[in-house]
């Protein structure tokens, strides 16, 4: 089974400071990992993904994430937070080993989300 955990329900950071939103995952094979952001009353927007290759992935709006296989983590980071970054952030995983293995094998599994508040 594949699973993902976002250990923090809420993260507060001052504007201009670096931010980190944590994500850990569990898979049987190799993971595809994704970060999405959801602004109020909006659908989810894709930020970045890890498939293979470089462990540091760069995405939209200055965000980046680092894949760490030994720690099974994929934390989202940004060097300098903006007030406009305040939103709900979701990490998601797909276990490559499970793809095509049966019912539910094509789904992404999402974490419960982390609410990021950037304080002016």
């Amino acid at each position: 089974a594949q699973s993902v955990a976002q250990p923090e329900d809420q993260v507060n950071v001052a504007e201009g400071n670096p931010l980190t939103v944590k994500c850990t995952y569990s898979v049987s094979g190799n993971p595809y990992l994704f970060w999405y952001v959801q602004y109020p009353n909006r659908g989810l927007q894709f930020l970045l993904k890890y498939i293979t290759g470089d462990n540091l992935v760069k995405g939209s709006y200055g965000f980046e994430a680092e894949f760490n296989k030994s720690q099974t983590s994929f934390h989202l980071k940004k060097p300098s937070a903006l007030v406009s970054d305040s939103a709900l952030y979701f990490c998601a995983v797909r276990d490559v080993l499970l793809i095509g293995s049966g019912a539910g094998s094509y789904q992404l599994t999402f974490g419960k989300g982390t609410k990021l508040s950037v304080i002016p």
Binding site: F34, G43, L44, F90, V96, G104, Y106, G111, G113
Partner: protein, 116 residues
């Protein structure tokens, strides 16, 4: 626009009524997903369509829920005899599909369903 669209944006219904939620995916996207997002919860997978293949219904919570996808494009999620616990935001997403399934999903704005 070129994004995923959903209708209605809001739906208020009485317990026991049936509702239909519609999703128009991005043109050319063969994969379509429905999710349910409840307050304080993550996204719960409901159903997955891939082209003309039989859908993966493994996430549907009960037999009151059903979905179809006509002509490989528009999809309708139907909830029969709605219950208060069905109140949630229903999100639709579509993606291109490659054999390795690493393409990101594009989400619609969702339908907020309230069952009174």
């Amino acid at each position: 626009g070129a994004g995923v669209s959903q209708s209605p944006s809001n739906k208020v219904t009485e317990k026991g009524k049936d509702v239909e939620l519609r999703c128009d995916p991005i043109s050319g996207h063969t994969a379509l997903y429905w999710y349910r997002q409840s307050l304080g919860q993550g996204l719960e997978f409901l159903i997955y369509f891939q082209g003309n293949s039989a859908p993966d219904k493994s996430g549907l919570p009960s037999d009151r829920f059903s979905a179809e996808r006509t002509g490989g494009s528009v999809s309708t999620l139907t909830i029969q005899r709605t219950q208060q616990e069905d109140s949630a935001v229903y999100l639709c997403a579509s993606s291109r599909t490659t054999g390795l399934f690493y393409n990101e999903q594009f989400f619609g704005p969702g339908t907020r369903l309230t069952v009174l």
